[in-house]
Amino acid sequence: MEKDKEIKMLLVTPSPHIRAEESVKDIMYSVIFALIPTSIAGIYFFGIPALVTIVIATLSSMLFEFTYQKMTGGDETVSDGSALLTGVLLGLNLPSGFPWWGTIVGSFFAIVLVKLLFGGLGFNIFNPALAARVFLLISWPLQMTTFPRPAPLLAGESFRLSVDTVTEATPLTAVKTIMLSNDLSKSIESVTQIKWFDLLIGNRGGSIGEVSAIALLIGGVYMLYRGTISWHIPLSFIVTTGVFTTIFYLLNPGMSANPLFHLLNGGLFLGAFFMATDYVTSPIEKRGMIIFGAGCGFLTALIRQYGSYPEGVSFAILLMNISVPLIDKYLKKRKFGG
């Protein structure tokens, strides 16, 4: 044995010989951690059905990833947290009363069709959770736009244990209904006169994870502070949405909602901080990120004002996802000495 010690093997690997500690798993879990506030807000307002939806989405996403890899003999990647994150995001993108089977179909679409069939993490073109949201919206429009009424406990309501049959149009839907009806007797102003405080904390109809601007902001700031995301996409996305909704507001007096209403409604904060910033489906360099965010913001405002859907965040991000290779190709950093 002493002799063995003499000729023991030294490890030889190429440089560098030290590594930063952050792994893919750490990054995924930091995003999941940042989603805790908005998940809590969603459960607070929509009760147990919200929690059940998130759990079903999460478990089914991980199960699909696991099963697919068992069937195709691929490497195990469930533990990297990416499927878990996709599941949580999908759950947060659904209305709290969404049927359980629909959630599972959504997970299958996100994990298998959008991600794994394109080559797995790193190769998907579209944000999986978002593509699934849009797929579900187009396939089951009724279920996807049936939003149970929020029940804030602080206002004396009891914690929701089952799906509330009382539903409520989201503020953006209410606005769009008036715009499409072209009925000038109804004023958009009357719809947009919601208490700002309610909009900030999330006391409004909407998907589980998109209602609370404050909770989303807390998660977003955490990710910015930790360096998980940079400011480029969320800021340019939100600012551009603000700029174009202002322009449309001025161009269409009486037939559009005010910009602040637009910023705090729909899925803008969820989209800007958590969906558009997905590394795989957004530009890799800073200048490209700004273009990407601005494109998302412009398309969001355009769809909300002129489209037939009340909300445009998901479509905007998916459209910009497709343009990422182009943006990356033409917006390269200047090289040193070049």
């Binding site: 030294l10 010989h17 040193f336 000495g337």
Partner: protein, 454 residues
Amino acid sequence: MVGIFNKIAFRGGIHLPDEKDKTKGLSIQTIPIPERVVIPLSQHTGAPCEPLVKVGDLVKKGQKIGEGKGNITSTVHSSISGKVIEISPHPHPTGNNILSIIVESDGKDEWVDNLKENEDYLSIEPEKLKEIIRNAGIVGLGGAQFPTHVKLSPPKEKGIEYVILNGAECEPFITSDHRLMIERSSEIIEGLKIIMNILSVKKGFIGIEKNKLDAISVLKSTIKQSHTDGSRKFEIEVVGLDVKYPQGSEKHLIKSILKREVPSGKLPMDVGVVVNNIGTAYAVYNAVRYGKPLIERVVTVTGNGIKEPQNLLVRIGTSLDFLIQNCGGFTDEPEKVIMGGPMMGVAQYTLKVPVIKGTSGVVVFSKNSAEIDGKYQSCIRCGRCIANCPMGISPNLYGLYFERNMVDEAYASNLMDCLECGICAYACPSNRPVVQFIRQLKSEVLKKKKSGKR
């Protein structure tokens, strides 16, 4: 951006864990003469040396025992006195076996006769100085080992304006230049003056990262004294640099100090600058002033695998084995032994390799503490490699190109600009061996060039 805070830095780069605390306060120690030394005939860029001695010859310390043909080459010397016992290929820090001369010590440690001292070294002709430097076997001691006499012979039309001494020492763990600057400051300054004389340059800089404030102040006061002792006036400025890897890369040092950018594919002399390492200036002084060839250098021996980390003055050719014995041995079973720093150093498979001219340090990681390059994942496009790349290129692409054997596309994506500083692989959360991809692609490009397809 430039100018707001007047930052002494460049774009990109990264803050690394420093790890220098163990040795930065320890003065340079000498160790006993090794029983034998292994002098590789290639410790420089360019044509290898040919042996000037045969097995059985007796040699003295400082005796020239190998010399290369042509201009881009150097010389090697015996670092001890004794007998040549073997001339054969021997493991070399690069990982290859290189023809080496093995000298067994006679225990006397006698200098070769007729070391030519020059008291009035600042009045020697440049050509004569370069001859001395070549014959002393001086090469870049920062690691690149480029022959110094060649570096000091730029074509006239380049119009060299400045000389910069590189005391950045940006690799974690390594403190050899740091200690040298503190303990041999006047020799370094005089060496710089000699280099400035050779290039007839009026202004010199010494760039030092601001984590070495003691070295900065020592050099500043040494310069003040040397200006008052009546010698010819040399304008020398010490510049404190932001602590950011790779501050010690020639191109980035020039950018930080002079705001000049060496164009892609060009050399520092193309922007009127020559950069030399601190240790090189020290070796130049010793060669010119005392006639002593380069037979020893300072090596930091450190890492959690070493019992008593130290900065040692070591004879060239000393085996790692002997070096480590003189640092109290290993703490535990060693897992990885690195020649150089952890970012750009080379992992060794045997402790028989000798210290060579470019060895600034030896870092030993003990059992279970080395980063094992095992599995890596797909690129998730996080962009950390791009954001931190000091060359402003897109390292993420090279892995994709390598995996698909797209050599031409890699070449077209600025592959050859890469310094191999290692930041991309360091920062990669997917654990991708980016530098290795790049090296492989580069070698494919060179193969293609050789076969005339490029």
